[in-house]
């Protein structure tokens, strides 16, 4: 869509765009280009000479069992976080959409967690799951489970999944509720007249009509689980015990920033970059279609 009436001159608009373009060029494009460049190069042991090595860094990466393990861990983590955060949010949204007393209050009680930082969510869960002081940990010990997420890798994974999913429920709730409210009442009323009740009405009418929202949220949640949960892992487990919670993003940080392996870390960055580009492309193709309809 183009405008017919416009203002003349080019100096003013360029001045308006300049701040944003400068920040983008220096802090986004330049570092990204740098990452791509170093992913094809390798430094000698003294860090003096740099030579071009083609795809060698990538070949090393994908034959490294530690990296493949991290990919697999990220997939498990992402699927669990997305599934929990979305299903809990959907159930809550369906009931919050009903005409009951106090629904305004219920909505507020479910919306505020949007404001909780992933890192702070992790701190809250540390306090719940701490073997010594945590209520949840006490409960689990009481039913005979030996609970210590700092030693047990599976439990550590569970802890970061729960904290990450907990933080994301309210975001999904807001979108599901908006999606439900945009379904025209006559549609659900007609289904009710036809005798479709409860679960069946939800499965055959409501859920299909929510498909655009659901699809959008799946993409956003994958991005969240893959990238924004860095803080949750850093605060709760620091990738441990061992490598039990070392996801791709956490590994990129460890290898690059802590262990200073520039070549490998850059190759990992490029792999992640491809991932974000694919996800963003999917999201925007879908948004385009939505606005055409």
């Amino acid at each position: 869509m183009e405008r017919r009436t416009i203002f003349k001159g080019w100096l003013l608009p360029v001045a308006f765009l300049l701040p944003q373009l400068l920040i983008t060029a220096f802090f986004f494009l330049l570092p990204a280009a740098e990452a791509i460049y170093s992913s094809f190069t390798r430094q000698d042991a003294f860090g003096i000479r740099t030579r071009f090595v083609g795809l060698a860094n990538f070949a090393d990466l994908f034959s490294d069992p530690l990296y493949l393990g991290s990919i697999w861990r990220t997939v498990v983590f992402d699927v669990a976080v997305v599934a929990i955060a979305m299903s809990v949010a959907l159930v809550l949204a369906v009931f919050a959409d009903r005409e009951i007393r106090g629904r305004g209050l219920y909505r507020t009680l479910l919306i505020w967690p949007y404001a909780v930082a992933p890192a702070v969510a992790a701190v809250l869960w540390v306090l719940l799951l701490h073997p010594q002081i945590g209520w949840l940990a006490h409960g689990l010990t009481a039913i005979g489970l030996h609970w210590d997420y700092k030693l047990n890798g599976g439990q550590a994974m569970l802890a970061v999944i729960l904290a990450s999913a907990w933080k994301q429920v309210s975001y999904n709730f807001i979108f599901f509720l908006a999606g439900l409210q945009s379904i025209p009442r006559p549609v659900t009323e007609a289904a009710r007249m036809d005798g479709a009740r409860g679960w069946r009405r939800f499965r055959t009418i409501t859920f299909p009509l929510l498909a655009p929202t659901t699809f959008f949220l799946i993409v956003v949640n994958i991005v969240y689980a893959s990238f924004d949960t860095f803080a949750v892992i850093a605060a709760l487990t620091r990738g441990g015990p061992g490598k039990a919670t070392e996801t791709l993003v956490y590994k990129v940080y460890l290898d690059g920033f802590v262990n200073q392996q520039i070549g490998s870390s850059s190759a990992q960055s490029v792999v992640l970059m491809v991932g974000v580009i694919v996800l963003t492309a999917i999201q925007f193709r879908f948004l385009d279609r939505k606005s055409d309809a």
Partner: protein, 275 residues
């Protein structure tokens, strides 16, 4: 359904509310309690009414470590600068792209769009190198300026500006309004609700940053409260539990207050802005 109480809905929603409120309540109540008792696993649901002095203690801090009031100040500064900066810069960019014609206009637009695909997480090392070469490590400018570019806000404002009727622009021009007057007197007023909604989203975004301050600000003087609390639970030297919990409450309160106070605009802006 009239006249009958929908018990299932109430039970499910109450459980949901408890799931989110309880952890925060526990931390709120725990902050006021005796740290030794908490350490023994006796965390009570009831706050100790005489224990609120912990907040004064936490804000003042202990000698040798950054006091929490300072962390809150850094967090506030960071969240406000980022929110205001992103909104200002994006309003101007969207205005330039929509209401003017100039060479490479769409190239500029796509350049801004690309930032969506390059989160910090995928360019950690080279970003650090660039920051270091500009001398921005351990500075407040380094903490904020690079985060001010915003594809999301620019897209949102562009969308809004595209549907401003041509007649309105024409009428403003007839009245002798130049580009600047038009922007100030017409575009800004029609954008206020979106700006309010974006402010909430971006304030929360700025307040909740973790990886960025971790990379560019190692000086404890620039610790945000989010960085500070993670440091507290990560150290080997034990920090009293009531202090940790009081700091957590202080880290939670400001962004929650902003969301609750501006809930109506925020929800509308978030879901209608398509992102």
């Amino acid at each position: 359904m009239k006249g009958r109480v929908d018990w299932t809905a109430h039970i499910v929603l109450l459980l949901g509310a408890v799931l989110f409120v309880l952890p925060v309540w526990l931390v709120f109540a725990g902050a006021t309690q005796d740290p030794a008792a908490i350490d023994r696993g006796q965390l009570s649901l009831l706050p100790n009414l005489h224990g609120f002095g912990v907040y004064a203690e936490v804000l003042r801090g202990v000698p040798g470590s950054t006091p929490v009031w300072r962390m809150l100040l850094v967090s506030f500064g960071m969240a406000l600068s980022i929110a205001v900066g992103k909104i200002a810069i994006s309003l101007l960019s969207a205005y330039a792209v929509v209401f003017f014609r100039f060479p490479f206009r769409m190239l500029c637009f796509w350049t801004i769009f690309i930032t969506l695909m390059l989160p910090v997480e995928v360019r950690i090392i080279p970003t650090y190198a660039v920051m270091a070469s500009f001398g921005l490590i351990n500075t407040f400018a380094g903490l904020t300026v690079p985060l001010i570019a915003s594809a999301t806000a620019t897209l949102l404002f562009r969308q809004m500006f595209l549907v401003v009727p041509d007649e309105l622009v024409e009428a403003a021009r007839m009245d002798g309004a130049g580009p600047w007057r038009f922007f100030r007197d017409i575009l800004l007023p029609v954008s206020t609700t979106s700006i309010a909604a974006l402010f909430v989203i971006l304030f929360v975004y700025g307040w909740n940053q973790y990886l960025w301050p971790l990379l560019v600000a190692t000086d404890p003087k620039l610790d945000t409260v989010v960085i500070g609390i993670v440091k507290m639970i990560g150290t080997d030297a034990p920090v009293p539990w009531n202090v940790v919990m009081a700091t957590a409450v202080l880290a939670l309160l400001p962004p929650i207050a902003v969301v609750l106070l501006m809930q109506r605009w925020f929800v509308k802006g978030l879901t209608e802005g398509d992102k």
